[in-house]
Homo-oligomer: 350 residues x 2
Amino acid sequence: MQPWKERDLEEFRAFLAVPEPVLVATHVDPDGDALGSQGAVTLWLRRRGIPAEAFLEAHPPRRFAYLPHVSDLKVYARSEAVPPAFSGGAVPRFSRAIFVDAASFDRVGRVAELLADGAAVVNIDHHVTNTRYGHLNFVNPESSSSAEVVYDLIRSLGEEIDEDVAVSLYTGYLTDTGGFRFRNTSAKVFRDVSELIARGVSPADVAEFALDTLTLPHLRLLRLALGTLRMHADGLVATLTVTQAILREADAAYEDAEGLVGYARAIEGVEVGILFRETAEGAIRVSLRSRRNVDVSRIAARFGGGGHARAAGATLAPPLAQAEANVLAAVEEALRELRRDPTAGGVYGS
Amino acid sequence: MQPWKERDLEEFRAFLAVPEPVLVATHVDPDGDALGSQGAVTLWLRRRGIPAEAFLEAHPPRRFAYLPHVSDLKVYARSEAVPPAFSGGAVPRFSRAIFVDAASFDRVGRVAELLADGAAVVNIDHHVTNTRYGHLNFVNPESSSSAEVVYDLIRSLGEEIDEDVAVSLYTGYLTDTGGFRFRNTSAKVFRDVSELIARGVSPADVAEFALDTLTLPHLRLLRLALGTLRMHADGLVATLTVTQAILREADAAYEDAEGLVGYARAIEGVEVGILFRETAEGAIRVSLRSRRNVDVSRIAARFGGGGHARAAGATLAPPLAQAEANVLAAVEEALRELRRDPTAGGVYGS
């Protein structure tokens, strides 16, 4: 079950036996799993009597303000010569750190500057691309989330968690499984989550903040993007387009379009949903989502992109109309191939 | 844990010992829990050697076509003098039935006509309003879903389930907890679901069909409804309006507006989301959703409606503008009251 060597666990126990400050870092532009795992580690360390400080390069998204560690999360601000949090004093230096949900050392951004030379780093993660940069590495790509890795590790040590740690971990499981809807949602995920709920977590409250909060720019963008909805290939393909003009009209940022492709794919009968986004530089970013039979990573690869069988993307040169036509032609070709040979390239094909 | 008398379980065992046909019915306009629970009971009975027939008054929504029992579900069509399924032969009569997720006897609609006089009815449900109309009643308002009641009952008998029954039950748990986001999502729900997943259910596949499938009329309606979005009370209230003209423009049915109120409530900072819908008869149907502090059932009650603290509704007389103004005034009054006395009427008030 737990994929780590007893020797690594012993070393981690030794790390925990020292009551000296630990920096707890996670990746820049943190999502729910990054913040939840960071919070869980920070609060758990403190309960064990270890001074732990959670740092980020910028303020976390407001919807995660309910996470118990966010109230004293320290911001080591990006692109500031003197970090504002420390303009009045010396920048602290840590000789020990735990990085969570960071696939490589540089994913924590400028927060890495807070480490003293030769600092010991424990690396806790679930990304298959993790570079094992830590002095100790607890990396399990089989896990749904870094929160699951953290929880397994705490249990491996035979230790308990409190409600605040449970809320933090629950946030990671919930968001990295897309609300228990992604393919990484295992029986173990539900067993673990059941234990977290029993610690006093309110699934309704966490979901409401972490998943069900929308911003006005996102909704304005959704309205305008739905106006660009087009169906192709007898309803098997749906496309949405977000241009810079639409972003301006919605007073929205490029990132606000994240997730819109899901609406295209969710339409009854649609096999492939596509979102075309015009970047500030005029390039065309294409997001592809398939429902069942089409391997969209192959289509993305034809345009120099990549991804998974059901979610992939690529960046094309302008003009927009040409990029749209080229991608649509490739998707329709893949659908035709599938009709000729239903076992070819199918995710469930064999 | 299981709230039933041993004597009722004994009677149910006796019911199951008879290898005669059983009608399995659920409520009209079935949702995921109705269909999932119906499927679970039907398939489980058949595996035990009991001929079971699942009936509905009309075809189920297409998105539930993946449910294993739907392929031989019988439709006893509404508003047909001679039910089409039986135009060539006699209408069957059942002397035994199991009703699931039906709060009262008449909720199964015309399917009740298929019962012989004096037929034995087993009533399995989780609605607090259940009228205990059965000869045997397994009703547990503490349960998240009728699927949970069915699963508890099967386990109370010491019996096993197969993957098809698990998929059916999972559908009920998933949909009646709003994708594990409603307040009925307990630690037990997650424990049960973990067992179902271990039987081979794919949470991603079920969620994709049962929850994440949208129709074109719904998306067209969403686009037009978002065009009516208005913020009030310094961003604490958001309203959406769906008129008959909008429904015509979207080529959508009144039911397609179901769920739109969620977009209003989900906006960051919003405390109360309101959807105004004009019915075909010109009345104004108001749906109220609150996030945390406002008890919207009190507001609905002022207009002759009702519901729960966080989800309530009422029907007002036209004109639309007057109905909107009256409801908004009541909501703003409730918000002002709350500001004066944060403990008054608050869901989390005490």
